[in-house]
Every structure is written in structure tokens, then in C-alpha cells.
Assembly symmetry: none
């Protein structure tokens, strides 16, 4: 960040400008160099996939300027469709709390309008919410939620219904409805969840979601390493260090389980 007088943009500034579709900052900056000229350029995780780690981190950090730039760039590049972006907001809200998601949601509307205004095009009609694709009947929804909980978490059990948190919350809404919504792939939902549990610091959810991402084979061992680095660039070294430790443990656990199951 230290600025040299009358300097040119550094490699990070140029990479930032290219990714964000904005002018480059006027001077070299070691943090921009690291995040944009190094991390974002690495192989092993696609640029599209990197958005699903970066967007929740920027939204969680309450940094309005960076949030606007990231949402704009992810949409204007076509890396994410507007429907994917809006599903990402909902998924983020569930894993980070809806007050934080409120600014993210407004920023998506604002940047989507900006993109169309710049193009002289009308903003398209949004995709209708209804009909929902999950059952409305409470008993049927709980059954669906229990199955989805087992499938998505790669576990043979589900939490009890008769508890407000796990029944009314986890089974009825989070797994009975939210995770099953069309419009965002399972890999993308796993990347968003990974970022959210990592900055939320809750030990059991970090463990269970890292495990399920690997066990489901929806995120590969090398992709999750890159996702942890992408996370570290956006949320700092201490939280990334903790995430990386859990990743190493869960890689070992999954490898052992696959050996026992006779698969590789």
C-alpha cells in the first residue's frame, strides 16, 4: 500500500485493473501484487471458482468499495450469471447471517442496473421465485431436509427435529429448502460455505464442511489447497492457517476412509 511519488502501477495494480475492469491504481502496492498478480493468477482453481471464495469474504468484510468492484467484475465478465450471483447472496446470508447479506444484496441490484445502464439496455425481468422446487408440506419438507443433510454432509445420521435450531432451522430451511434450490451448482455452494465457515471460525462446521467437500469429491485435494490460499489472501493469514490445518486433517481422514472402502 505504501505509495511512491509519481509511480507507475505495479504488477498487482495492472492485474487488479484487468480483473475488475477499472483503471489501475496509480502506484505499486505489495498487497495488490500478492492478491491480484500472484494468487488470482495461479492454476489449480479456475477464475470462476475463485469468485465463490472471494465474494463471501469481501461481503463479510463490510468493505463497500471492494464489494462493488467484485460484484461488478464477476457479472460484467460473464464469470457468474445474475441468477448464480443472487443464489450466492442467499447462501451467504444463511451462513453469515442476513444482516451482513443485506448490503451484498443491494450491491448486486445496483451493479446489475449499472451494467445495463452502461450498455443502454433494460434490466431483464428477474427469475420468478415460485413455484419452489421443494415440498411445502412440513412433514415432507423435513424428510427432504433429513435426506439432504445426510447426502450433503456425507454422514449417515441427521440432527433431531424437535429442537428449534436443528428442526425449524437446519432441517426445515437450510437443508430442506436452501441447499436444494436450483440456480447454483453444488461445487459453488461448497466453496461459498468453505469461505463462510472459515471466517466464522466455528470449529465443528469448519471440520464438517471441509470433510464433506473432499469426501463428496466435489472439490479436489489440490483445489481445496488453492481455495485456502485464495481465502488467506482475502481474510488474512491467521484464519487461513487454521483452515489449512483442518484441511490437512480431513485429507488424511478421507484418504483413510477411501482405503478402508477399497476405493481411491
Amino acid at each position: 500500500m505504501p505509495v511512491q511519488p509519481s509511480a507507475e502501477p505495479g504488477p498487482g495494480g495492472r492485474a487488479f485493473a484487468a480483473l475488475m475492469a477499472v483503471p489501475a491504481p496509480p502506484a505499486p502496492d505489495p498487497l495488490l501484487d500478492f492478491v491480484f498478480a500472484q494468487v488470482w493468477q495461479r492454476p489449480g482453481l479456475s477464475r470462476r471458482d475463485r469468485w465463490f471464495v472471494a465474494l463471501p469474504c469481501v461481503a463479510a468484510a463490510d468493505a463497500e468499495g471492494p464489494l462493488r468492484e467484485h460484484v461488478y467484475a464477476a457479472l460484467v465478465s460473464g464469470d457468474l450469471t445474475i441468477d448464480e450471483m443472487r443464489e450466492a447472496v442467499l447462501h451467504f446470508a444463511v451462513y453469515s447471517g442476513w444482516p451482513k447479506a443485506s448490503l451484498f444484496n443491494m450491491t448486486v441490484d445496483e451493479q446489475w442496473e449499472r451494467i445495463h445502464r452502461d450498455r443502454g439496455e433494460p434490466v431483464p425481468e428477474p427469475t420468478p421465485l415460485l413455484p419452489l422446487t421443494t415440498p411445502s408440506d412440513p412433514e415432507a419438507r423435513l424428510l427432504v431436509g433429513e435426506q439432504a443433510f445426510r447426502d450433503i454432509n456425507c454422514v449417515p445420521y441427521e440432527p433431531i427435529r424437535d429442537n428449534p435450531y436443528s428442526g425449524a432451522g437446519i432441517l426445515n430451511f437450510v437443508f430442506g429448502e436452501m441447499w436444494l434450490r436450483p440456480g447454483l451448482g453444488m461445487k459453488e455452494r461448497r466453496l461459498i460455505t468453505l469461505a463462510c465457515v472459515a471466517f466464522q471460525d466455528a470449529p465443528l462446521p469448519i471440520m464438517s464442511h471441509v470433510y464433506a467437500a473432499l469426501k463428496s469429491r466435489e472439490i479436489s485435494f489440490s483445489e481445496i489447497d488453492e481455495a485456502a490460499l485464495q481465502f488467506g489472501a482475502y481474510y488474512g493469514w491467521p484464519k487461513a492457517s487454521r483452515l489449512m490445518q483442518v484441511i490437512e486433517e480431513q485429507k488424511q481422514r478421507v484418504t483413510d476412509e477411501w482405503a478402508t472402502e477399497g476405493v481411491a
Copy 2:
């Protein structure tokens, strides 16, 4: 959050509008349905008590719009008095850090003025700070702080004085002054504290405050379950999951202790 063109508000939008005393959002929204039409409407924790979980979560999330709406609604409904709200800001500041509380404090002033402006009434004079109800002499204040620490935490010990954090901070101010201020009931302080330790993620404080809330019987077993769901709706599943785990452990611990003590 996805919006249907020219749609009617969903049940969540109508519940949100009723609670917040604002117009309903123009379209159904799965998250509003969950938070406002389901969670807030549940029995087991009063609407008044739910504010003491929701307000710190919204303040901690740095969400300016939702913070304004929540402060306004809690005051204009009469669910909280202005003195209770201002004590809640101080309690929140201590448990979440003064910088985060700065916006909360300004928002309370701003919404309190708005309510009186809308009513064409002058804003009443604030309640005077002095005299404090706790002792001024440092030795006497530490003694009071040590007793309050034991009573409020339901433990037979207190931390050492000769440490800036536990002496100058915890004993001298947090328990020697802040928790003992009139104007906010102990149950309400416990709900605010529960929300704050849950989003702050500090393992020992989560454990000790859940334990004390239950052991003191100031929050019942079913109320704390509802408080955890209310928290999850506002701060996301990962942190609520951790809180819920601690709640289950501490219910067992308290139940065992009551059995040993021959009480039920």
C-alpha cells in the same frame, strides 16, 4: 431475495412490515419468510426478549439499514424503553468492542429523534449519568466487582486483581460497574451477552455465560433453545451450531448439578 415482477409480498414480507412498522417489500423472499414469518412468530421466547438477541447481532454485522429498522421498531413499538436501549448499547460495547457500538449509539439517537419528530413532540432530556450506584473507591469497587463476578457467573471464585485485563478491566469496570447499572434487567443482559459471546467465538466465555444463564434460572432451557435459533437466523448457521453444542453440554451439566444439590 430473488424478486418476482409485480408480485405480492410473501408471508415474510408481511411479517417484516408488521414488526418493523415499514411497508412490505414488493415480492416474496425465502429468507424473509424464514426469519420473520417463522422464527420471530414462534412461541417460547417473547417478542421483547427476541430483540435482545436480534439487536446485538444486527449491530455486530455492521448493517446500517437493518440496524436503523430494528432500533426504530423496538422503540416505536414500546417493546424497549429508551433507557433500556441505551443500556443495551453500553452492554453491547463492552462485549463486542467500543468501535462497533459507535454506530449503534448514533443510530439510537437518530431514531429516537425521528420518533419524536414524527409525533411532533420534543425529545425528552436524557437520564443523568451521576450519581453512579456503585462505589467510587478503588478497593471498594474491586470488592463489589469480585462479588458480582461470583454471583453473575455462578462460580465460587474470581479472577486475580493484579492483571490489567482481569483487574482493571473485568473486576473494576465490567463487573464492578457495568453489569450492576440499573435500567436493564438481568435476563436482558444475559440475552445480549449470549448473542455477543456467540458471534465473538471465544470458547470459554460462550461456555461460562451459557452455564450461568441456565444455572441462575434467569433463562429457561426452552428459552435458550429459542434464543439460539433467533441467533442462527441473525448470524448464520456456523456460529449457531457451535452455540447449540455448548448449550446441550451446559444443560446436562446444570441438570447434573441440580440433581447433586437435591433441587429440580
Copy 3:
């Protein structure tokens, strides 16, 4: 973080090992390279000063392993005395909330004992809390707090007394006692505060503390740039980007004020 099989430590791993007085991690790691081989080695902010940014960030991130390593290294190197470290915990508690500081405080005790155990020396008696150096009488304490608020924030006004947050909290304790405690210099307190307001995201406190750090001349223009980079390495790019924007604005403001005042 991605690990190459049977690799040697990279430059970041070696720098990490030297700073932390621990063995180097077994493989190169781009995040360690950036944080430890690049940022920590830069001129413009002393190694001692960098701890006052890094320690609050690690404590805020709830990363137990990194927190132990950082506290140990800062103490065993002699970069911080134990009294300075304990004051840093109290200052951190006030600006980040007591629950987060609880683990920090325990970690300091634990690592201080470890250092003495390793040396075969007894742990020295802690410095006594009493007598406090600030007045006990509430009215006198508020007067001291009002003066300290103006001096430390470099403003000609103070907040109202008759408000629990600003009266009982800010004036009575934060500025009437905590900031005035001996045992930690004003520059060190400003660096801790800078880190805390930056990760807490509260717009007004970020602005006011950056302004006061520069206006007081207790942190120079080039030091605050380095502090922002140190912060970015520990808490991620989005929050650092916001901090840096405020720094640029406040440098301009302070420069303009000095020009008007006829000083440079």
C-alpha cells in the same frame, strides 16, 4: 499453503521459523512467503511496532495456534515486556470486546509460564493493580476522561456524559482510566487501536483514530502505510483496502490543517 511432496521450507517458512523461534514448516507456502519473508522484513516500521498490529489481528481471528506462537515469540525475543503485553490485552479487550480477549489473556499467562519453565526460573510476581493513577471520584474521573478524550482524539469537543455508552463507558472508563494507564506507550496504543478499528469495520472510529494517529504525530505518514500493509497481511485485503482509503483521506486532511496552522 499448497504443499509439494518432500519439499524444503520456502523463504516464508524460514522467516516464520526465525521470527517465531520454532522449526520451519516442511514446504514452501505462498502465504508464508508473503507475510513473513516479505512484509515483516520491510523497513519503515520496526519489528517491535509490527507486533502491536499483528497481535490484535491474531487474537481477533480466534486462531489458537498462531496466537500461542505470536505471544511466545514477542515475549521470548524481548520485543515486548510482560507488562506491555498485559496492557496490550486490556487495550485489545476494550476495542474488540472482552470475550475475544479472554483467550488472549490466558495465552499470555500460559506462554509466560512456558518461557520461565524452559529457563528453569520462577515466574515473577505480577505488577500490583493498585493504586490506580487516575482519580476515583466520579466527577473528577469524568473531567479527566473528557480532557483525555480531547487530547487523544485531537478534537476540541467531548461526547455527552448523560448517555451510558459515552458517559459510563467512553468518558468514565475508556478515556478516564484505560488509555491513561502506565505500562504502554501512546504510539503502541495507537497501533493496537488502528488494527482493532480496522477489523471492526466501524466507519467513524476508523476515521477518527487514523486522523488522531497522524495529527498527534505519534505515527508518521510512512509508518501508517506500513501498518496498513502489516494489517492487510494479517486480516486480508478487503479490510486493508478500506483502511488505506481512509488513510489517504486523513493524510490530506492533516496536511491541509497543518498548512492552515502554518506548521509542517
